[in-house]
Symmetry: C2
Subunit: 346 residues, 2 copies
């Protein structure tokens, strides 16, 4: 089972999660999530990018501010946290990292509801949580996480839909049914993505830009490029990028941009035009909008999908791009150097 195989398993894995939608409604009812004001999420690495997605999803759909836990506050500094009216969520593929488990234990001590999102419900994280969302995507053997990431995003979207309509989450968010086909459509762009990936064959660094929901995609895409292709890929929201890092860009500097239709689209388009036409950057644009793709020096189409679910499809394009960049740089995507599958941080 290779990384590429796992990337291609994603439509099925997500379809199985969407089929379990009623269970997410039942869980939301047990959590009494609508009586909670805040969310605190503990996660690291790829799962931390799912947490960033959750910041937008819970904030926009439920009005709940999401804090990303800094687990070392508890594990290294021994702090005790006020967690009144807070839903505590731990996200971890393996469920094995002690500091993530520690944040859920703190939630239990404070008597607030805790949810584990993991691919191993029998893990320490699964054992400590009130509610466990089993990603059930099958063993992830590649060191670089792919199918667990998109499953984490889908699980979060299903949980939010469950809070909005515990009786029928898919009534609250019918677009969830479109996700497996959209991911499958993205996989069919692999040849175009592979052609675009040649661009980074000889570059040491690049920038990845997204905004809103797609900031999570920028972060996760950059991580894949770092761990697999050894390109120093620096992720930014379009807003923060203007605050300094834009200084990195000179003639031909590679910028990767996720710019689907949606609320931040005009802002992203303005940035893309400036990057290419004023600063001379080499810009790869992912978008479902032909006019936006035309702002890039190269582009790959995204499928039609509701804006808040698009990150589940757009990152698949990023995964394929990182895979083919890795091959173009003559590295082995199935044996990334220096890193282990499970990282246990105290």
């Amino acid at each position: 089972m290779t990384l590429r195989d796992e990337i291609h398993e994603q439509p099925e894995a997500i379809a199985r999660l969407v089929d379990r939608a009623p269970a997410f409604g039942q869980m939301a009812a047990r959590l009494r999530a609508d009586e909670l004001d805040h969310v605190l999420i503990a996660a690291r690495g790829t799962s931390d990018h799912a947490a960033i997605y959750a910041q937008y999803l819970f904030g926009i759909h439920l009005g709940m501010p999401v804090g990303l836990a800094t687990p070392s506050i508890l594990s290294v500094y021994g702090a005790e946290l006020r967690l009144a009216r807070t839903l505590v969520i731990g996200i971890s593929q393996s469920g094995a990292s002690p500091d993530i488990v520690g944040v859920l234990e703190e939630g239990r001590r404070r008597g607030v509801p805790t949810v584990a999102i993991t691919n191993d419900p029998s893990s320490a994280l699964g054992s400590v949580a009130d509610e466990v969302i089993d990603l059930a995507v099958g063993p992830e053997r590649a060191v670089a996480a792919t199918k667990t990431y998109t499953a984490e995003l889908a699980a979060l979207a299903l949980l939010v839909a469950g809070v909005r309509d515990p009786a029928d989450p898919l009534r609250a968010d019918p677009a969830l049914r479109d996700v497996p086909a959209a991911v499958a459509a993205t996989l069919r762009t692999e040849a175009e993505v592979a052609a675009a990936a040649g661009e980074l064959a000889d570059r040491a660094a690049c920038v990845v830009v997204g905004r809103g929901y797609e900031y999570a995609t920028a972060r996760e895409w950059a991580l894949k490029l770092k761990e697999l292709a050894h390109v120093v890929a620096d992720p930014y929201s379009a807003a923060d990028f203007r605050h300094g890092p834009v200084a990195l860009v000179d003639e031909g500097f590679p910028v990767l941009a996720i710019a689907p239709s949606g609320r931040p689209a005009a802002d992203m388009a303005a940035l893309l035009a400036r990057l290419r036409d004023e600063l001379g950057a080499s810009v790869l644009v992912l978008s479902d909008v032909a006019e936006t793709r035309a702002l890039g020096t190269s582009s790959v189409p995204l499928p039609a999908l509701a804006e808040h679910l698009m990150p589940i499809a757009s990152i698949v394009c990023g995964q394929l791009h990182a895979l083919h960049t890795t091959l173009a740089r003559n590295h082995d995507p199935d044996s990334p150097r220096h890193i282990a599958k499970v990282t246990r941080t105290a």
Copy 2:
């Protein structure tokens, strides 16, 4: 007035803030901060790194979880946020960015206390907040923020000390008195820092690593290197660095590490030893501990200072390093390309 001048103004600017300690206690009393459970901070760019520092400071000293606002949830997506028992803080040098102002306006609408930390109390941010902390460091003319950043950190530390002891903040945190001298001592290492900066003269990229309080320093140091020296500097907490980005490191790859004494010191030392001895990285270590400095291929001493205040001194070393890296790369630190002093994000 050059960037270097503003870097050297910092001991005095911070001393003036510490002299205003009683006002921070009075402010904390008016806010009834001890009756609040959560903190939500809106900030961008350099000020966002002050917000990261606040996550550790409020979490460890007050047990208050700090969420970093994603302002576009309000400004782009039009969400309404539940903000019960939440202190809303906006941090902005100029106080002019509409999306940061928007988060404080949302706080006002919800009837929760709001604080502006800004160098321009007459700005939009200053006008909308219940309480205004005027950094009062004088005009910051250099495009790259330096003295406003350390003043923001000192203001946050004074505010937390004020919550702990409204009658006498310096009784709660007497180490605050040591900060100006510690920053002055750091400035005296400029020649050593300049010598170490030559390392990056011909490199496109590097990684900056810190943990706990010093994660904020890693983020801010990396931003200075990007905006001034055009080095793609990727900041990581030591914990997240092991989750993939360590794959970037090969023989001679430059790593910058902030590793002062304190709770994460043993974890940082283990990472530094691995980076240099197993992976062959070129590691510049900032530390107040001689044994930790010996783990680097080069090092610069930090002054003695309480762990939670050390970021106010350690970033000064990072600022000097970015300045001298910029000079070594023949760029002009006083005219960074493409960026404006005030960034207005809608």
